[in-house]
Subunit: 660 residues, 2 copies
Amino acid sequence: MIFIGIITALIACCIDIAIEEGSSAKFAFLKEQVDKCVAEECLVYPFLYWVLLNVVPVVIGSALVVYIEPVAAGSGIPQVKCYLNGVKVPRIVRIKTLIVKAVGVTCSVIGGLAVGKEGPMIHSGAVVAAGISQGKSTTFRRDFNIFKYFREDHEKRDFVSGGAAAGVAAAFGAPVGGVLFSLEEGASFWNQSLTWRIFFGSMISTFTLNVVLSTYHGRPGELTFAGLLNFGKFDNTSYDFRELPVFIVMGCLGGLSGALFNYLNFKLTVFRIRYITKKYVKVLETVVVAACTATVGMGMILYLNDCKPLGEDPTKYPIQMYCADGQYSAVGSIWFQTPEASVRSLFHDPPGSHKLTSILIFFTFYFFLSCWTYGLSVSSGLFIPSLLTGAAWGRVVGMGMEELFPGQTWVDPGKYALIGAAAQLGGVVRMTISLTVILIEATGNLTLGLPLMVTLLTAKWVGDYFNEGIYDTHIQLMGVPILGWEPPPLSHNIYATEVMSCPVVTFNSVETVGKIADVLTNETYNGFPVVDPPLCPDGRNFGTFRGLILRSQLIVVLQHKLYNETAESWSHKGFTIKYFRDAYPRYPTIQQVHVSDEERHFTVDLRPIMNPAPYTCLHNASLPRLFRLFRGLGLRHLVIVNDNNEVVGMVTRKDLARYR
Amino acid sequence: MIFIGIITALIACCIDIAIEEGSSAKFAFLKEQVDKCVAEECLVYPFLYWVLLNVVPVVIGSALVVYIEPVAAGSGIPQVKCYLNGVKVPRIVRIKTLIVKAVGVTCSVIGGLAVGKEGPMIHSGAVVAAGISQGKSTTFRRDFNIFKYFREDHEKRDFVSGGAAAGVAAAFGAPVGGVLFSLEEGASFWNQSLTWRIFFGSMISTFTLNVVLSTYHGRPGELTFAGLLNFGKFDNTSYDFRELPVFIVMGCLGGLSGALFNYLNFKLTVFRIRYITKKYVKVLETVVVAACTATVGMGMILYLNDCKPLGEDPTKYPIQMYCADGQYSAVGSIWFQTPEASVRSLFHDPPGSHKLTSILIFFTFYFFLSCWTYGLSVSSGLFIPSLLTGAAWGRVVGMGMEELFPGQTWVDPGKYALIGAAAQLGGVVRMTISLTVILIEATGNLTLGLPLMVTLLTAKWVGDYFNEGIYDTHIQLMGVPILGWEPPPLSHNIYATEVMSCPVVTFNSVETVGKIADVLTNETYNGFPVVDPPLCPDGRNFGTFRGLILRSQLIVVLQHKLYNETAESWSHKGFTIKYFRDAYPRYPTIQQVHVSDEERHFTVDLRPIMNPAPYTCLHNASLPRLFRLFRGLGLRHLVIVNDNNEVVGMVTRKDLARYR
Ligand SMILES: Nc1ncnc2c1ncn2[C@@H]1O[C@H](COP(=O)(O)OP(=O)(O)OP(=O)(O)O)[C@@H](O)[C@H]1O
Ligand SMILES: Nc1ncnc2c1ncn2[C@@H]1O[C@H](COP(=O)(O)OP(=O)(O)OP(=O)(O)O)[C@@H](O)[C@H]1O
Ligand SMILES: [Mg+2]
Ligand SMILES: [Mg+2]
């Protein structure tokens, strides 16, 4: 866990520093161009530069994702969620994915898309954790016995949830929030000793990040860079009892707007799945989005005349545009920053820094831009864009409040921006407690805890009335058989016999190699019950249940030719475990294993290899009961037996996921 | 959940206000007496008054507990933990327990024992939740079908974990901490929709408490009383990078001292279980402790000459003793306060308020006093005494640091007192993430988050090296078969056949009333497999497994005479569910049911009543597998069957708990 924490934090630092440097260089160059051109009326050039500087990194990032590792697209949170739920998503925790993700997200943030780097950080943490659990399990754990083998997957999952927590901790400087995140989104079976190990990992991660970033920024030992996402401190904010209704209303708004976001994004994703299938079209789409982003930005800077005097806290790259000397364009400053810095300025700019219309227009465009962006074939996070959208309308609400209650000390548009950001994000992702804690930790302010809770809970309620959270929507669209938290309602009268698949493809406890090879080639199933052949092979050929064998095990058997010419005693046992462990987790496919014609008549005794006592269920068990077994124990295959312990059916997650 | 939150908070308010008023009256009276007597050299009288004022409430509280509801003794957290683990502790969630607990804890705090009111608050929350779930399940859920009935226990457990969370939220003003508490200590199967409902309940609870207490203290609408335990805000505390080693060392100290505490308390409890069995002896012991507390306090006030000028923030009842005019005795002020207020003053008194020796002596006495007190037959919490002990030695460390690094801004004894308190409490109860969050929320300070985490994790590590947490120790001593978080190590080679009890007492699917009555009278088991009788009743009389029936169900059958003279068709079905639901959860015992001689020959068909598809396991399953089934699904009974689905054994929690 220490390593997970440290490595995750280091990756986070690299991404952060790369983005920081890249964006600085880009914006410095653009500012120079703009400043030069305003006088000479040649704004087309900086615009073109801008488009170019957006498109080039985005193309790199997008090409990486599309051509090298498509699974690295998006934020990775839905995939990690599936993984923690017990569903295998292929290649999701490979090192290659990590690299593509890290480079991809750097490119897309530098490319100025409406994305954040937080979601990918979480995914990176998960990959790191999986990698470490791997190394550990093959290096240190040789001596463990065969049951360990069956539990490998389970264990790896625990590590991954730790990694996700470390990722959150690094992304937001929120160790507690990280633990809660991996709890709220992932774990089904929670475990105290695991909890505090995860907690420790998260803490280490935050701490490492802090040390490295403080050093990078030239202030070693100060520990001021708690997370990647630094919202800055809210110092003297307090709230009034009477504001709570306002927060509730804002929560509703957030829920509504989040639900709208999810709905639009859902339609868009369906459209993408249907029509945007060619690889180059995917890259092209990202190019269009990147160019649009630049265009919208330029358009707003040009047509919104929102000049501010250069105050005490000007942005890093104030552009003057058509403003008078000593002033800068407020809209320009929002666009000439990473989205994250924009969130920060919306939170902390003193009252009156922004014009109502410019913020409203910004909100509208940004809402649609970010909706369009999420789901593109780039690595991208959703947190920052949602926060930014929310902060924009929150600030509008704050301005409204200022009008309504002039001169009240507790009316602070920054606070409303924060609440709005929380409401929007809550409406989109529908997390409650973890988001509360993450936001509290990221802002370093506890007094706003209650308002945040109220807002987030309301946003969740309102949003859930309309549709599911964005991650769940995407999981649905991925077609992954994920199980909910509760068995579907009204399912008490559905019995195992209706859910299960039958007839079942089974193996006899002593089976010929030929049959095994044939079945593996012809069927895609990953688990097969092993049965004693029925004594009288009549029509109803149910065999008595003996155990369960996995495709991967059978393949290792065939690969290493662990069979005898006759069904005699079989003495490889000591070696087999080693074979299985070495092969884990990348088994060859059946096509890669060659079985000669002669070998086809050999037999193999499956009994020493199979899992002799897997979970089974009687045919008259109800659906909720099956559900609980799968959910609570993270099963993949469940064999359904009848009263005589004969195999009558097979249930997998896919079968359960059909009932909703 | 709303109701749970509100009612828990209201109970918390009542307890708090009662304690506040009671203690004020007591200390005001004592102060008057002392002040009067110092001049007249008659300190014996105030001492006697003090003893009296300690003993009387304590006797009331203790007598209530001992004679009315012994299960209300202690903090209740171990019991709630057992309950959440799936073990039934009789009478733990009855209203009577709640009342005794609330009155008892008020008495013991007023009685000046070294106890806190936080643990009992958590228990109260749990009782409230159980009560509400009850009302709900019998009032609104009539129309649910029979499976609901089997899940009743499960559901109630969810409510109870919500109640415990609300209790923590009320006690510490820590809604997030409450959720984490019920997670870290209780839940085994975690559920997203449950989480946010619990979270909501906790929030409501904090909020209600806040409103009521603010109003009580005459400042409605200010929301300054976030929790019962108000540590006051730490405002301008920061820490330095180089302090982290100090925090780690303090964590070790806390772990050590916590382990010592647990060890002593363990020995003491064993002694108590063995020798202090008579009821009046128990009451007597509390009297002795109460008197001792007063004596120690008086002794310290008399012999420690620690005079302070009446500063800006004098305590409420400064006693002058032998000090010069305009001064007061610092030790006296610690004793003439509720322990909670003392914690607060140790945290916040300006540097130099206390003398080293007096704090050291106070620490020593208080450590042993609180150790002696926990486990007495009174309602008592452990949090505050541990915090106080820890704050005392933490302050000592702080003074040491002041000596070592004079003039450094970051050396603040109050901060060290907080860290010390955390270390001590962490060493005693061994919680990590929830305690971190609770302390952060209770102090309203986020900057000290990292030091707190470091300290608590170290304390847990060091402490776990020596023994278990105090709650687990007490659970062990209660003899409750609680299951750990992980299957015992090295248990992979233990199979179900070794764990299970056999022969099993079973019923045939159509059974005579006489046999049922006899078995219920003679055996104490609560669950019986229902079998088809073996066709040839030879020696190995294994019947084929059909279902599982509970003792409670059989009793209802006998009580309502739901049987026929012959084994004919049986048409009561509609009514039976109602019978079962009405009886829940207080079933009569078998002795209360009369079965006439004639009726003994009647038969009853158990098939419509039994649970037709309970979880079963094959006889060759390994212990970890059984363990996961129990832990993940919260089972009580697991039937072990052989390959032919014949019942060969029975496993309950007790059987599993034997393996550690
Ligand atoms: N051995 C089998 N015989 C017959 N049907 C099976 C067998 N294994 C799985 N099925 C059925 O095939 C369908 C698809 O199964 P699925 O892809 O979920 O299983 P799997 O590939 O074995 O498991 P997983 O996807 O977890 O690797 C399901 O309806 C399932 O019930
Ligand atoms: N029907 C039964 N036949 C034989 N042995 C049983 C039966 N039920 C329980 N036992 C055994 O009796 C011992 C004590 O059981 P225990 O008190 O845990 O069971 P219970 O009272 O049925 O369940 P619970 O305590 O959860 O109400 C255990 O070793 C258990 O295996
Ligand atoms: Mg499959
Ligand atoms: Mg029992």
